[in-house]
Assembly symmetry: C2
Homo-oligomer: 129 residues x 2
DNA sequence: GCACTATACATAGTTATACGAGGTATGAAG
DNA sequence: CTTCATACCTCGTATAACTATGTATAGTGC
């Protein structure tokens, strides 16, 4: 985990979010995939791949899901499948929804800043041979 | 089992830009800061901070600059300052410019995918309270 | 001309992240 | 009962970013 250090209970610095975003965009994507309803592990991977070209490995997603669950951002429940094997479905908690909103805002701001930087670069695209 | 990339059709991507971008957005930002002309180390930090709210430490930027120089993405030259001390100015090479364009495109795609994911989340903003 | 300060460049060491490669468990099919 | 397919899980590793610190140069006060 990372987000807490020796910080006081509610002393979350907005500065930390930025730093976290640069790294934890994947964590945000995982939360976002659950926005419209519960999904199970492999389903999250497929969802993100189809919706955002974000290809995550199993070794990436499961640790993240466990971390998020430990932080109270989501819950899980085993569900028996008719044909197959039990699946662990994850759902957002209220805390998870709230955090996702904050991350989404911070991400948007961060992304906008970078896009601004890249404007000149991309404008030149038309001139490129 | 679990051979995730058993796709022969996919071929090999030039690089795993997506994966790199999630981490190396900072590297891209460093290249981007030099698009309009040469800057020296501390100047890059100040530029990024003012232009994109991206706050980088010296310990972050110098290793990146050295790495990029070693890869031929930029050149450096010492310049004597009237009042002060020599500064090491960095400039993009043609290779650096080309790479930055590729990264900018990949970033745009990646960013767009994530924004798409976050659409539903952000749309709910108005309903909150 | 010697400390003191400010600016600028540099790097060693720590931490955290994403991932690859393997392992476990369940049920279905042969 | 062996094999296959799906799904979950975890350890070890490479790498990236950051913290803290060190070095070098030059101007300022005495």
């Amino acid at each position: 985990m990372a987000i807490q250090r020796a910080l006081p209970a509610d002393g979350d610095q907005p500065d930390r979010w930025e730093a976290q975003l640069r790294k934890g965009a994947v964590e945000m994507a995982a939360l976002a995939s659950l926005w419209q309803g519960r999904l199970y592990g492999l389903e999250i991977i497929r969802f993100l791949e189809s919706q955002s070209q974000l290809a995550l490995a199993e070794g990436t997603i499961y640790p993240i899901l466990n971390r998020l669950k430990a932080e109270g951002m989501l819950t899980s429940e085993w569900v028996e499948a008719e044909a197959g094997h039990p699946r662990k479905y994850y759902s957002l908690t209220d805390a998870g929804r709230q955090r996702l909103r904050q991350m989404a805002e911070a991400w948007t701001s961060f992304s906008r800043g970078l896009s601004h930087l890249l404007e000149s670069v991309l404008q030149q695209q038309e001139k490129i041979q």
